[in-house]
Amino acid sequence: MAWLLALLQTLLFIASAPLLAGWLKKVKCRLQNRRSPSIIQPYRDLRKLWRKEPIVAHSASWIFKATPYIVLSTTVLTASIVPLIAVNLPTAKIADVVVLIGFFALGRFFLALAGMDIGTAFGGMGSSREMTVSSLAEPAMLMAVFTLAMSASTTNLSEAMKYVLNTGLVLRPSFVFAMLGLMLVAVAETGRIPVDNPTTHLELTMIHEAMILEYSGRHLGLIEWASQIKLMIYGVLIVNIFFPWGIAQSFSLESLGIGAMSLLLKLIGLTVLLGLSEVVLAKMRVFRVQEYLSFAYLLTLLGMLSHIILEVQH
């Protein structure tokens, strides 16, 4: 039963990820006084891409062709260990949050290799930048996770959420810092403004897009879908770790319904926030990203220190 539910939840997760992307686009358009495409536009785009014939460069090896599948599958696997509308899932035991970071790293490893596979300058540039950004983001992310784990004394996501639920509302300075840090990291890792611009058309300013410049058709569709899922994973992580209220603790239909509704509301709130920040900020120069990410690291470090200094009795 629990395994079945976990499977269903994963399916729900990956199926609704494009919806989140569509909604985000809508929010952004509204904020910029533009007319927005329909909220289900990402589904249409994906369907169109999946049907198209993929084009592969002459110099590409099997890595280039295998990468979309690997990236998608690691992302789906990551989605399966993140509690979405219910905690106590058996899948959360398979991998804890450190492994989650590892999964993202694995997907990125292959994407970066695929970027270098063709042998054009853009791919190498994208790979180099992506690895740079991620290597700076990873310590900050781990520090945020540490702060959480030091309070909850677990790295199992499901257990950690349960801990936050059971202690009720506590104004922990460390959590505030960790959340801010994690948000900054999430923006960097999902390639959003101000770190990267997913809708850019200039090759030289790209990070993520330069890496996947050569992809087309089915392959591109898989990668796009994977990055939508990734965005959703970060969103769910942030809202469910720091505001887990409403998430289902038992598998009754009623509590699952409440879980889904509360998640919906929380995600809507978060995307409005993200949309706002994207509207008011401009993309940074590549070498400003390090300052941005070291600020994220500073935040998480302060979170950890404030946990030690302020939150425990000596």
Partner: protein, 705 residues
């Protein structure tokens, strides 16, 4: 039983060494064999076949490596039986000083490191015959290479067997000296000679520190055997002195920053299969020495030691990988990456020390287990990568990655094996490198149990640096794989190369790759067997590790953290298969069409337009600039009015290690100054020298009376 295999392994290694001496003695051997086999004509015919000029070289080469292989297999057997049975065997050999025979002790810890030697050695002995073939026609005799390889392996194994300080140091020196000759093997290049000398120098200094460390223990215990040391109770000051000396001595051999300078010089200089052994195994022997000394021989540990080890480990990890990233020479890069991995191991050991001194033996045990796991994993993937680099070198004669590219099309099998090594060393799930790093993170996460708040805030910071390290490692090996194996070939040699022809040269790395995957997916049995080691060493085990079944790892407790790499792998494979079914099959098997890559509409893309490995590493160089000594020069040749038109551009980059300027040069200068000062007594005047003798005589006479 285990001891028998251990001896067999040593003897086989020595035999391989001595057999190597027969390289150029074909005619003598031939005559000898004829003489001996005269009574049996059939045998004589076969012997003639073997000892004919055409076949002798191959026969001899193969038998050298077969002996090494036997040594490897029996080392694995010895280690395996010691780990499984958990029996400690002791022995004394009738060698050594008259009043101190060589004491032998073979326990689970030695057994574990024996296993580690054995696995790499088997791979090397598969790889070796194909690789050394090119040396046969070179300037240097195989005899030297084979002799010292055998001695080197035997030396490492004897270090593990030693149970008294005297024997330990002798074995240690055997290991160091024979590896010196291996580094100096291709001594026609001045750089290799310099590397070998540096290596020798630092090995000697390290050995002195180790001898002094044992000296501290020996002077208080009145004996040289380890049993004497174990029962010794030292004052904190003296035991700290001993610890510091041991850390310096073993750290120098292991390549801890700032004692790492020899490593990136020596490893590329040695032949590849030897560098695989040096980097994969010898550094671990130093770790073994450190573990033995600290956790076994010293009776008490202090948190300050742990902090020191943690700091040195963190510095090594992050500096090692940052320097690795800036290298163009593949083997040099791998050597720097060894510095990084040794740093990771010392982070785990530092955590273990902190937890042990803080009265948390279970967490300390977890730290040791994590360190040992990483030792094993690193020895596997680092040997793999060095052998892979050797295979590339063998086929393309290129060491610099700037000249490689596109090898995946030319060496498909090797590139698959190398990819596994790259993923493992980057610490990515579900392969083995990730398991040990995950264990270290789990150890560090238990800092909530430490009393001191300062340490509690330092440990997470150190582990954030560890996260940075593993992310940088991923970047570094994307760079390696992407530049060397993917893209377009950057030189003619590389464009025309083929898969290695010798089967063993693929089988060796392939075996290691299989082990990397296997230990990554089923880590629980390995960790379980490490319980024997920690049980003997510190009297503590991790009972919870496979509480959820042998497919799961839960180092502390089920609800704290758990990880099941097997299920992860199944999940990945299942989703890949599903995606493939859904998107490839369902789309009517729409095949991908081949076309030219995007060139902005200008056309004429060529291999020189690719990102080079220097270019790939540029953002890292810029962000972590304070760490490097960067010298950048751009020469421009301009023409036209006001130098408007740039004709030629020459870009030069030199990135060097800061430790030279900060540590080594001051030391070298002060040694030089000291020796200049001391040389004043050498006046050159004969009468002064007579006066020296005169005063010495007077002082001696005075002393006697």
């Amino acid at each position: 039983m285990s001891l028998f295999f251990a001896y067999l392994s040593v003897v086989a290694a020595l035999a391989s060494g001595f057999l190597a001496l027969a390289t150029d003695k074909r005619s003598e051997l031939d005559r000898l064999v004829r003489l001996l086999s005269q009574p049996w004509p059939k045998l004589q015919v076969r012997a003639e076949g073997i000892f004919s000029a055409a076949h002798y070289a191959e026969f001899h080469r193969n038998s050298l490596f077969i002996l090494l292989g036997i040594s490897g297999v029996s080392a694995v057997l010895a280690g395996g039986t010691a780990l499984l049975s958990g029996v400690v065997t002791t022995d004394t050999l009738p060698f050594g000083l008259p009043w101190l025979n060589w004491h032998i002790r073979f326990d689970a810890l030695s057994g574990f490191f024996y296993l580690l030697i054995g696995l790499s050695l088997i791979a090397v002995s598969l790889f070796g015959p194909g690789y050394v073939r090119e040396f046969e026609h070179g300037k240097h005799s195989l005899a030297v290479l084979g002799l010292f390889t055998g001695f080197f392996v035997a030396g490492m194994e004897l270090v593990l067997l030693a149970d008294d300080a005297f024997f330990f140091v002798i074995a240690w020196e055997l290991m160091s000296l024979s590896s010196y000759f291996l580094v100096a093997f291709q001594h026609e290049h001045a750089s290799n000679r310099r590397a070998a000398f540096l290596y020798l120098l630092m090995a000697v200094v390290g050995a002195i520190a180790i001898i002094l460390a044992y000296g501290v223990l020996a002077s208080f215990s009145g004996g040289l055997t380890f049993d004497h040391f174990r029962s010794l109770k030292l004052t904190p000051v003296w035991s700290s002195v001993a610890f510091t000396l041991a850390l310096i001595g073993f750290g120098m051999k292991a390549g801890l920053v700032p004692f790492h300078a020899w490593l990136p010089e020596a490893h590329p200089a040695a032949p590849s299969h030897v560098s695989a052994l040096m980097s994969g195994v010898m550094l671990k022997i130093a770790v073994y020495g450190f573990i033995r000394f600290t956790f076994d021989l010293l009776d008490e540990v202090f948190w300050q030691w742990g902090l020191l080890a943690l700091l040195l480990g963190t510095a090594s990890a992050v500096l090692g990988i940052l320097y690795a990233m800036q290298q163009q020479n593949l083997k040099r890069l791998l050597a720097y990456s060894s510095v990084e991995n040794i740093g990771i191991i010392f982070i785990a050991l530092g955590l273990a020390l902190i937890f042990f001194s803080g009265g948390q033996p279970r967490l300390g045990t977890l730290g040791i287990v994590a360190a040992l796991m990483h030792c094993l994993n690193h020895s596997l993937f680092k040997s793999l990568l060095f052998l892979g680099a050797g295979a590339i070198l063998h086929n393309t004669h290129e060491q610099s990655m700037e000249n490689m590219g596109g090898l995946i099309h030319r060496m498909p099998r090797l590139s698959g094996i190398f990819l596994i090594g790259c993923i493992s060393i980057s610490g990515l799930p579900p392969f083995n490198g990730f398991v040990s790093e995950w264990l270290i993170f789990q150890t560090a996460l238990q800092t909530g149990n430490v009393d001191s708040g300062v340490i509690r805030s330092l440990i997470p910071t150190a582990s954030a640096v560890l996260a940075l390290t593993s992310a940088l490692a991923a970047g570094c090996f994307v760079n390696v794989y992407g530049v060397a194996f993917l893209g377009l070939p950057r030189s003619r040699h590389v464009a025309s190369c083929h898969e290695v022809s010798h089967r063993g040269m693929l089988a060796g790395p392939a075996m290691l790759a299989v082990l990397c995957v296997l230990f990554g997916i089923f880590p629980a049995p390995v960790i379980e067997s490490l319980n024997v080691v920690t049980g003997q060493l510190v009297g503590n085990t991790l009972p919870q590790v496979s509480a959820m079944g042998w497919l799961w790892v839960s180092p502390v407790a089920q609800e704290v953290a758990s990880y099941s790499p097997f299920l992860v792998l199944v999940g990945i494979l299942l989703t890949v298969w599903l995606c493939y079914q859904l998107f490839y099959r369902q789309s009517g098997r729409l095949e991908a069409r081949r076309a030219d890559p995007w060139d902005c509409g200008f056309g004429g893309l060529n291999a020189r337009m690719q990102y080079s490995c220097t270019g790939f590493a540029m953002p890292f160089r810029r962000i972590f600039q304070p760490v490097f000594d960067v010298e950048e020069t751009i020469e421009e040749q301009k023409s036209g009015p006001d130098g408007f038109h740039t004709q030629r551009l020459r870009y030069q980059l030199r990135v060097s290690d800061r430790s030279w300027a900060f540590v080594y040069q001051p030391v070298a200068r002060s040694v030089l100054n000291l020796s200049k000062w001391a040389s004043r007594i050498q006046t050159g005047n004969i009468r002064t020298y007579i006066a020296y003798s005169f005063f010495t005589l007077i002082i001696l006479l005075w002393g006697i009376s």
